[in-house]
Symmetry: C2
Subunit: 395 residues, 2 copies
């Protein structure tokens, strides 16, 4: 199971919720294993998961009929599914169906609940929750649909509760850690392929094609691909262009795709030929800062303290004016899960958090430097997911 | 410019709006050229474009400081930009900056407006719209933020208006048509690469890697990759697995990525070895149905009439029980733009619409068959974006 049920129920209890409704794609997948494709690749299509507290019954998935094959996937652990909307799937008579197709046939034989909110209301009533206090993830539900939900459930109390999912998602389950480890590894290998394509005259697009091509070959899908060379590397979200690599150019990668829906986000630098003094000196400073941060992280340590020590280290090691808004964040189905490693953060590290730690430095007219590792917080420290080191790669 | 300004202003006039606020990523890009990356790859990050009617002033982009390099991109045609949030970008003294970096420096020199809603309120007041009737795209703004906007503008009237963008986006501009044509072409070429990898023992994942690899090589990014073989091809949203291709297996592709943010969505079938009678007969029926639909489309024709004729043709040509919820849809920044080619649709074709026409047929125990072409509606008919034919490809 992807979901950390214990933590989700703790979060629900703290908010005195009888049930929680997932509405954004990350939370729907998290709460059920259901990858509601149209919701992932578009804005607007609705899919929900109703999760009552254990005493009040089993969860229910609400899926559009057009996605029923994905709701019937063996990776979906929620058994009760309501479908809505007209959709036609035929069946050859007298041909035995495999388990997946049989499940599709079973779900298509159920009533069409008409539309998404109607189906959700039915699920809530099926569980006897029409007078309950229900948390609704407010990010994925359209406001018109929220209004209709409230009208259909005049005796229920609906509260915005996306933060409960954010709280639960911060501590990863074993299956999430496996996927995140592989996702980080794919990104790391993809940087190696891009660096192998780095030569004088190669364009940023050439590097990007090598990067994403390797991600595809390894079974991932591209998402984040900030790849810039020379002075362009200083642009925070640099998108690959036809700019050609020249001797002395720095290359910055801030990149990562998805593997089985889980994100990667790592960063490395290369340089074509020997680095000049400033580049080598500054890059060393951000590396030492990163190492300092990682060395501090273990359960019970405050994220704000790590931020402080990290920035202080980069300053002392060579970039005296170094400033940052944050030096890292959690990662999971979303690229920015809790915790947030920032000066005002009240987050404390806990075992099972998967974290990106980073020390980016952007200087227009010079370069963008950035090292970012992904790691899991263990009982007494961290375990890195990275297969390569953070050194400036001379190519 | 991506935006069809005339059509947007017509839509605003029909709704009696003084201004319109884009909040979902597709509409933000559409209304300004600003690709607000974090909003595209996550749920929650806010970016807006305020577009007053022409008499009431120029549009304003609201961008997080961390995305300012993308807001400064030369493809962004909106000149007034407000930024919010702390973010640090350094600058080497005495080194001349190029035009893009100069623009970044100029925008970073502006005040930090604190947070997204505060910046939007400032933009609205800058244009003297604090008593205006303002349409807000309700899909991308968080409900908490809508509430704060309403509180900060007690004399304004805020109405949900995502439909105005949907209306405008239905008729593409020349630049949108260029991108959509290339996006469809990339998907078509990618199917050819996947079919070139189709042989006995190749897996669905092998085909998917060949498909996405070609998309990357052509400068696109993967999005939709439903690729299934044999009986698995009947699953509507089949996701590539380790299932191996065997003699006689049908292969179904329902696929398409993005090219410069514009979507592709096309479908084709292959078969390993000669097709059996049923496969050949049914596939011909859906092809003739598709051809019938395409032959009817021209400005002034009702989408519902095309649906009717298309389904009728497939039935007459060999699948007597053929049923569908729709046989096509518009495509643009979103994979499902207007119009909708469905029985209850009130849409009428207009010049400049870009449309996917499709006749899928899913039969569990047999196969999924699907042909889907993308085309633009011209003054007196259509022009196809496809480089390959719809025939069943024997490999």
């Amino acid at each position: 199971m992807l979901m950390n049920s214990m933590r989700l129920f703790t979060g629900m209890q703290e908010r005195r919720l009888d049930a929680l409704v997932a509405t954004m794609p990350e939370n729907v997948t998290y709460a059920s294993g259901f990858w509601a494709m149209s919701q992932w690749i578009r804005r607007g299509p609705q899919a929900y998961v109703l999760t009552p507290v254990p005493a009040l019954g089993e969860p229910v998935v609400i899926a559009s009929s057009g996605l029923i094959d994905l709701a019937a996937d063996p990776n979906v652990w929620v058994k009760d599914i309501l479908r809505f909307g007209k959709f036609v799937i035929e069946r050859t008579p007298d041909v035995p169906l495999d388990a997946h197709d049989s499940r599709i046939a079973e779900l298509m034989a159920q009533d069409d609940e008409g539309e998404a909110v109607g189906a959700l209301v039915k699920a809530i009533k099926m569980r006897g929750l029409q007078r309950a206090r229900i948390g609704v993830d407010e990010i994925g539900i359209l406001p018109q649909y929220w209004d209709r939900l409230a009208e259909a459930l005049p005796d229920a109390t609906l509260v915005r509760a996306a933060d409960v999912f954010r709280y639960a998602r911060a501590i990863k389950t074993a299956e999430e850690i496996r996927r995140l480890r592989r996702s980080a590894e794919i990104a790391d290998l993809s940087i190696q392929s891009a660096l192998a394509a780095a030569r004088e005259g190669a364009t940023e697009m050439d590097l990007a094609r090598a990067f994403h091509g390797r991600t595809i070959a390894e079974g991932g899908l591209p998402v984040l691909g900030c790849i810039g060379v020379g002075a362009r590397s200083a642009m925070t979200n640099v998108q690959p262009s036809e700019r050609k690599l020249a001797r002395g150019d720095v290359i910055r990668f801030d990149v990562g795709g998805r593997y089985r829906h889980y994100r990667a986000d790592i960063a490395r630098n290369g340089v074509l030929g020997e680095p000049n003094h400033k580049l080598a000196h500054y890059h060393r400073a951000i590396r030492v800062g990163l190492e300092r941060a990682i060395a501090m992280i273990r359960p019970g340590v405050r994220a704000a303290d790590v931020f402080e020590a990290c920035v202080e280290t980069v300053r002392r090691e060579g970039i005296g004016h170094y400033q940052r808004s944050h030096v890292g964040h959690g990662i999971g189905l979303d690229g920015y899960d809790a915790p947030n490693i920032a000066p005002s953060s009240t987050d404390v590290f806990e075992e099972g958090m998967v974290i990106c730690v980073e020390t980016p430095y952007y200087e227009m007219g010079f370069a963008g430097l950035q090292v970012e590792d992904t790691l899991v917080v263990t009982r007494d420290g961290v375990e890195s997911f990275m297969v390569s080191g953070t050194e400036l790669r001379v190519v």
